[in-house]
């Protein structure tokens, strides 16, 4: 063992003192030879003979030096360094190529890295808390099969029940979903609980209600102050304490070291700040938002007036998180809580929403990452982005091939001098890998910038939640991924040229006769197919992006068909007692109606642009094909049409009595009537449908026709709506729509006063958002995001395709120099050559363009076909699915760019001097 180790150490030392050792050896050899020569002279030879004989007897000096060197350093490392130095030298010789290559690669790798980085932070990495491996989130499964965020919502009563009786978890915590609350902050020095004078105006922040063991179980040590005591969530309303998040403390309080003890006023109650979480704590996610402050669940009524979580066993409001007990497995814990949940369900049956099972899953910041839909989207995105990179590699391979053909001589000489093919391939590959690593560095820089942009965009998009995670620090995993990706990329695009180059046949190369004259056709066909594919994809993306952009422009001027600027939705108050609740609401409606600032108060169970109820409607005696329609429906008060300024084109509105009694009458839209009874008067006809969501079926008589609107979303006219009269017996699900005249601020103040007087709760930050500012803007924002992403992708595809076309053209030109020389010698002029090359280069482009157009037709036709259900979004905003201007215009644009990309190298082809070309490469 020891000698091996010593050898290694010695070799290591030898690597670093290579030149010194070389000198020493040379010295030794010299004296050896001299001594030999001396001996020979003594034997009687002449000086020259002596020296020559000495040399002979000694043997080959070069061979000795080689073997000495091999034995002494770290040969593999040395050859790698050699390759590296050579590669850098070669790359420096063609700076333009290097820049283009590094940028292309940087872009492709950066895109992949960005996506991976985001997915890693948000979905893959477990939440940064202690012992994340045993940290789980509970998920419930409903008999109705409903999916979504509500699968993570449990009631406070369930929390207490499960916490007490479970055997699978060593601890269970409850955390609400992030809540938007209005908070008034102190303007200066600490205030006591009594004064209000030095509080600023209210602002909206994100709060989270948690059980008292939340921070202690997560093992979070506070940066300032303390966590919650274990008894601070026992008595309702008794502990008005708050813990701030680090980012909130930094941004809003300027990292004030004296923050402890200061007061936050939430609605009516003063909360005292008792701690600040550490810098790295981001909460437990789902949704991926860092709350601004935390407070115990016992303070729920103060934070959210009008709700009563602590006493409503079926009010599902909190997420349940817990640490697996050391002795239990996930399966056991799951089975245990499922059984407990069933038992709870027996004591507190939930008729509408029976839970059939509870499962557990690891806690990630994003939430449910085991949802196959989410995983499918991630895989799809990564595949798309991976393909972008693959295309970039293919392009680079082409460009490298073009360059490599100019190095045939060098390769042939090296082979002739005894280099092994393996060594040659390795050296060529080193060049590619160096290029790729440089691209990787560029990629990391791109991705740092890219993730920031992406996150800002997403943060805008998320809208309601302010505290989006604002930085994604480059993770070790991400950097490792980038490195791996770079190396694979380098090998991928470098392999083909490297293998091809090293196969050069010695004699033909050295005789300058080895060209691509009659070059293998299958290779060039592959290249042609690749370019065609790139052009197809580019055309497709470009056209789709163009259609979307057209839609976006149209969306700015869309008329929803009803009033959006002056209409404000308002949620009605509620109370524990349903009778008292109804009375409160009726009182509120009456008082609001009386306000001079409010022109109309309407009621509806589905706010326009705020959700839909789609149901089956049977139309007896209707035209064939219209017998059973999927239709949007809602319950409304008679003031609805007037409030939203929707005209009633035939028949009449509901009467007050019909609304009170819930009579079986209905009003339908024009579109519905045209579809169901084309050419007939719909008034008096009957339809059959359910009275409400999951209620009994009944027959309704049509009494009026209303104008068409876009109430599901603003991108398309609703195909059909049925309006049913609101039933005042149960106002539980209704929203009020207020049409406000004139200045909204005066109206807001009036509404606020009215509401405060009704239930006595103060609403410092009260304000309403009109339909236009809220729902409409949201939709336009969505459309904008969608469109810009498509345009971005199209741009990327176009850039790559252009580079691809250029690369192939350059390669073709380099291969066919001799042929061009012959053409010119035989009398072809520059123009003929140019046309010849252009024709060949543009052929795959034209094919690709045509395929791309067909593909775009297919995609837009498909979109139109599948998105035709009521309430779906028309992504093109009414644009024709085959819009000749877009299709043809963009195709021509692409063709023009491709032509330019072809032209540049083709132009170079015409500069070929026939004499030079014919003589050698």
């Amino acid at each position: 063992m020891l000698p091996v180790l010593r050898t290694l150490v010695s070799r290591w030392k030898g690597f670093f003192s290579a030149s010194k050792l070389d000198e020493e050896l040379a010295g030794e050899i010299d004296s050896h030879l001299a001594m030999l020569a001396e001996e020979n002279v003594r034997r009687g030879m002449t000086e020259d003979e002596a020296r020559a004989a000495a040399r002979r007897e000694f043997g080959s000096i070069t061979r000795l030096t080689e073997r000495h060197r091999e034995a002494r350093g770290l040969p593999r490392l040395e050859t790698m360094l050699q390759d590296l130095r050579y590669a850098l030298r070669i790359l420096k010789k063609s700076p333009v190529f290097m820049t283009v290559a590094v940028l292309t690669l940087g872009f492709g790798i950066g895109l992949n890295t960005t996506l991976f980085s985001v997915v890693n932070t948000v979905a893959l990495k477990p939440v940064p808390v202690g012992d994340a491996g045993r940290f789980l989130r509970l998920e419930r499964w409903f008999a109705s099969g409903a999916l979504g965020e509500n699968q993570y919502a449990f009631s406070y009563a369930e929390f207490r029940y499960l916490a007490e009786y479970n055997q699978g978890f060593s601890s269970l915590m409850a955390a609400s979903f992030p809540l938007r609350v209005a908070v008034s902050l102190p303007l200066d020095a600490p205030t006591t609980l009594a004064t209000t004078a030095s509080l600023g105006s209210p602002e909206r922040v994100t709060a989270q209600l948690v059980s008292a063991n939340y921070f202690s179980e997560l093992g979070v040590g506070m940066a300032l102050g303390r966590g919650f005591h274990s008894d601070e969530d026992q008595v309702a309303g008794a502990n008005p304490v708050a813990i701030l998040s680090y980012p909130y403390w930094q941004s809003r309080f300027g990292a004030d070291p004296l923050i402890l003890g200061k007061v936050l006023k939430v609605n009516d109650t003063a909360f005292s700040v008792i701690g600040v979480t550490p810098r790295g704590f981001v909460g437990t996610g789902n949704p991926p938002v860092i709350p601004d402050f935390w407070t115990p669940l016992s303070m729920q009524v103060e934070v959210l007036p009008g709700q009563d979580w602590l006493n409503q066993p079926l009010d599902y409001e909190v997420q349940l998180l817990g640490y697996l007990a050391p002795s239990a497995s996930r399966k056991q814990a799951q089975a245990d809580v499922s059984v407990l949940e069933k038992r709870f369900g027996q004591d507190h049956p939930d008729r509408d929403n029976r839970t059939i099972a509870v499962t557990v899953q690891p806690v990630t910041f994003f939430g449910n990452t085991e949802d196959p839909r989410f995983q499918a989207i991630v895989v799809l995105l990564m595949t798309i982005v991976g393909m972008v990179l693959a295309i970039a590699c293919a392009n680079l391979a082409n460009m490298l091939l073009a360059k490599a053909s100019g190095r045939q001589n060098e390769v042939a000489v090296r082979l002739a001098l005894g280099a092994s093919r393996v060594r040659l391939v390795r050296q060529l590959l080193t060049e590619s890998v160096v290029l790729a690593l440089l691209g990787g560095v560029a990629g990391v820089l791109f991705s740092l910038w890219g993730t920031r942009v992406l996150w800002l965009a997403a943060g805008q998009f998320a809208g309601a939640h302010s505290a989006f995670v604002t930085q994604i620090p480059p993770d070790g995993r991400v950097l490792g991924y980038t490195l791996l990706l770079s190396i694979c990329t380098g090998v991928l695009f470098g392999l083909s040229p490297a293998l091809q180059s090293s196969r050069a046949e010695l004699t033909t190369s050295l005789n300058d006769a080895g060209t691509a004259f009659g070059h293998r056709l299958d290779r060039s066909r592959l290249r042609g197919i690749l370019v065609t594919a790139q052009v197809t994809i580019s055309t497709l993306f470009l056209i789709v992006a163009g259609l979307l952009a057209g839609g976006l422009v149209r969306s700015q001027h869309v008329d929803p068909g009803f009033e959006v600027r002056a209409v404000y939705p308002l949620g009605l108050p509620s109370d524990i007692d349903p009778v008292k609740s109804n009375a409160l609401r009726e009182q509120e409606i009456r008082r609001l109606e009386a306000l001079p600032e409010i022109q109309r108060v309407a009621l509806t169970d589905y706010v326009p642009l705020g959700g839909t109820w789609t149901t089956e409607v049977d139309v007896p005696g209707a035209a064939p094909g219209a017998a059973s329609l999927g239709t949007l429906a809602r319950h409304i008060s008679p003031a609805y049409f007037d409030a939203l300024r929707i005209p009633i084109v035939r028949g009449r509105n509901f009467t007050r009595e019909e609304a009170q009694s819930g009579a079986e009458v209905a009003i339908v839209t024009n579109a519905f009537a045209r579809r169901a009874w084309p050419g007939h008067d719909p008034i008096g006809k009957k339809i059959r449908m359910q009275r409400g969501f999951r209620e009994k079926w009944a027959t309704f008589e049509i009494v009026g026709i209303a104008g068409d609107v876009r109430s599901a979303n603003i991108s398309r006219l609703d195909p059909a709506i049925v309006y049913l009269p609101a039933r005042s017996a149960n106002l539980h699900d209704y929203w009020a729509l207020l049409r406000i005249a004139g200045d909204s601020r005066a109206a807001m103040a009036a509404i606020r006063t009215t509401l405060e007087r009704i239930d006595g709760r103060s609403r410092p930050g009260f304000s309403l958002v009109s339909l236009e500012d809220g729902a409409v803007q949201d939709e336009i924002l969505t459309a904008r995001t969608f469109t810009f992403s498509a345009m971005f992708l199209a741009g990327v595809a176009l850039a790559l395709a252009t580079i691809g076309v250029y690369g192939v053209m350059a390669f073709l030109v380099s291969q066919r120099e001799k042929e061009i020389g012959i053409h010119m010698a035989l009398g072809a002029n520059r123009r003929n050559i140019l046309l010849l090359m252009l024709r060949q280069g543009m052929r795959p482009v034209v094919i690709g363009g045509v395929l791309g157009i067909m593909g775009a037709l297919g995609v837009s036709g498909l979109l139109r076909a599948i998105l035709i259900f009521p309430g779906s979004v028309d992504v093109f905003y009414g644009g024709h699915w085959f819009d000749p201007a877009t299709f043809i215009g963009l195709s021509c644009l692409l063709a023009g760019i491709a032509l330019f990309a072809c032209y540049l190298p083709a132009q170079r082809a015409t500069q070929v001097d026939p004499l030079v070309a014919l003589r050698h490469e």
Binding site: T7, R11, I29, S31, H32, F58, G59, I61, L64
Partner: protein
């Protein structure tokens, strides 16, 4: 390029050459490269055909393994040369190898004599 069997042969040759160097240094003390090569030739009485240069690779290997040490000095003819001597570890190794060779050769001889009979 050497073929497979050539390489094997040269490795065996290397191993025995190393041993010869160690033995020579052990008995003759400190020598420089030239002197060492000469001595080995003398002892083998010319039956060993060796390019003198190859000794330097052997010396490098032995140095790397720590069985010999080297020092620059001046020869009898006032020439600058590197002088090599065996180390304690080298002596130990030599001793082990000698025992090994004796054992192997006795065994082989017994077998071969057996065949003759």
């Amino acid at each position: 390029m050497s073929t497979g069997s050539d390489q094997d042969r040269s490795e065996i040759l290397q191993g025995t050459l190393d041993l010869m160097v160690l033995q020579t240094l052990a008995t003759m003390g400190t020598l420089h490269g030239f002197g060492l090569a000469r001595r080995i030739e003398q002892i083998s009485e010319g039956s060993l055909e060796l390019n003198q240069g190859t000794i330097y690779v052997a010396l490098l290997r032995l140095q790397q393994k720590g069985w010999i040490s080297s020092e620059w000095g001046t020869s009898a003819n006032k020439r600058r040369a590197k002088f090599y001597s065996i180390t304690k570890a080298g002596r130990k190794r030599l001793h082990e190898e000698v025992e090994n060779w004796e054992r192997v050769s006795t065994l082989m001889l017994r077998f071969l004599r057996l065949n003759e009979e």
